[in-house]
Point group: C2
């Protein structure tokens, strides 16, 4: 019984992985159970023996997702307490995760109205943890006077990640050639944000200033 159940779960996992991939690439509406089964390497009937319907498969996929986890940056040790360095580190990690899962991000943005519960759950699982951490980090900054006290930190963090998200979307959507590099964009986002949130910004000099002047 032990080994049997494990084999069944193995098939189930292959189906979940395949479904995530196909949902991301074809969109939820565009994904077909045939294609999901084909990618999983199982018969389509097997899919329906594991999941009652395409909709329930989507639910299971969403609950199963660990793909978007940005598990690094979890340990407080990595924070240097230098706003610019820490935020730049975070920005690149976040951006890399976004780029790695571009299709998934696009799909859930596009279908969020038609599958609100799935979208909510994905967003929750993927971004919420880091968001909290960043907010706490900025709160510490407020505590020691490096971050402006008059900010709504949740909104600040969301606008920061928002810049990065929108940058990714623009870069990969556009057949339009961009007139700046990814590096320029991300570094400048960090630069703008740090200047924006820093207290006594005149006294604050970022490494970027040194490079550029």
């Amino acid at each position: 019984m032990e080994k049997t159940r494990s084999k069944r779960e193995q098939t189930r996992d292959r189906l979940l992985d395949a479904a995530l991939k196909v949902f991301a690439q074809a969109g939820i509406t565009g994904a077909t159970t045939r294609e999901i089964a084909r990618v999983a390497g199982v018969n389509e009937v097997t899919l329906f023996r594991h999941f009652q319907s395409k909709e329930q498969l989507l639910e299971a996929v969403v609950q199963h997702v660990s793909a978007l986890q940005i598990e690094a940056l979890t340990n407080q040790d990595e924070w240097t307490q230098n706003l610019f360095i820490d935020l730049k580190h975070y920005a690149w990690l976040f951006n890399n995760t976004l780029e790695a899962h571009e299709d998934l991000v696009r799909t859930f943005i596009g279908e969020a109205r038609r599958h609100p519960e799935a979208a909510r759950q994905i967003l929750q699982e993927a971004a919420q943890g880091l968001r909290e951490k960043l907010i706490v980090y900025l709160q510490q900054g407020q505590g020691n006077g490096t971050v402006r006290a008059d900010l709504d930190l949740a909104a600040a963090v969301d606008s920061f990640t928002g810049m990065l998200l929108a940058g990714m979307l623009r870069r990969s959507a556009a057949s339009i050639p961009l007139d700046y590099s990814r590096e320029t964009y991300i570094d400048q986002c960090v630069d703008l944000f740090v200047r924006g949130v820093s207290a006594s910004s005149a006294a604050f000099v970022t490494p970027l200033d040194v490079e550029k002047s």
Copy 2:
């Protein structure tokens, strides 16, 4: 012949309007020709007499789009040459347009990979004009010393609009209750951005500072 052609074009326009609406709400993949015809109030056959295929209808829709036009803010008169005031004005206009066309924005973000030409054209038509204007505006700021000279203005403008776009997406996607208001978010985006791009930011005081202190 004159009246005949005008009636045909009238039907065509109703189809284009309906198609835009249905594409936006159901997604491009999810939209059906039946539904589009129903919304347009014409027979489905008529749709195919005007457009060879669903794909070609999409092309026509994209070329026909004027919905996203932000026609205000076109006249230079409205610029007060106060960064904060001008950008705040712009931010709210931009945000209102985004919110008014949320479904359309989501759809084209979600399907950009599957319909790159359509996405490119929509993006071009909708945002490019304003983008140029904002860049020129900031260039003037650089000229008279209110805006930092070491910025990539295209990237700066894109990160600004990106914050606003992401804010809209987050607000309307989330069943998650936000812990700040739309007003807080947008005003703070402007505040952060203005501080970020301003030269000699210590000397620069925004109206928000006055309100809050």
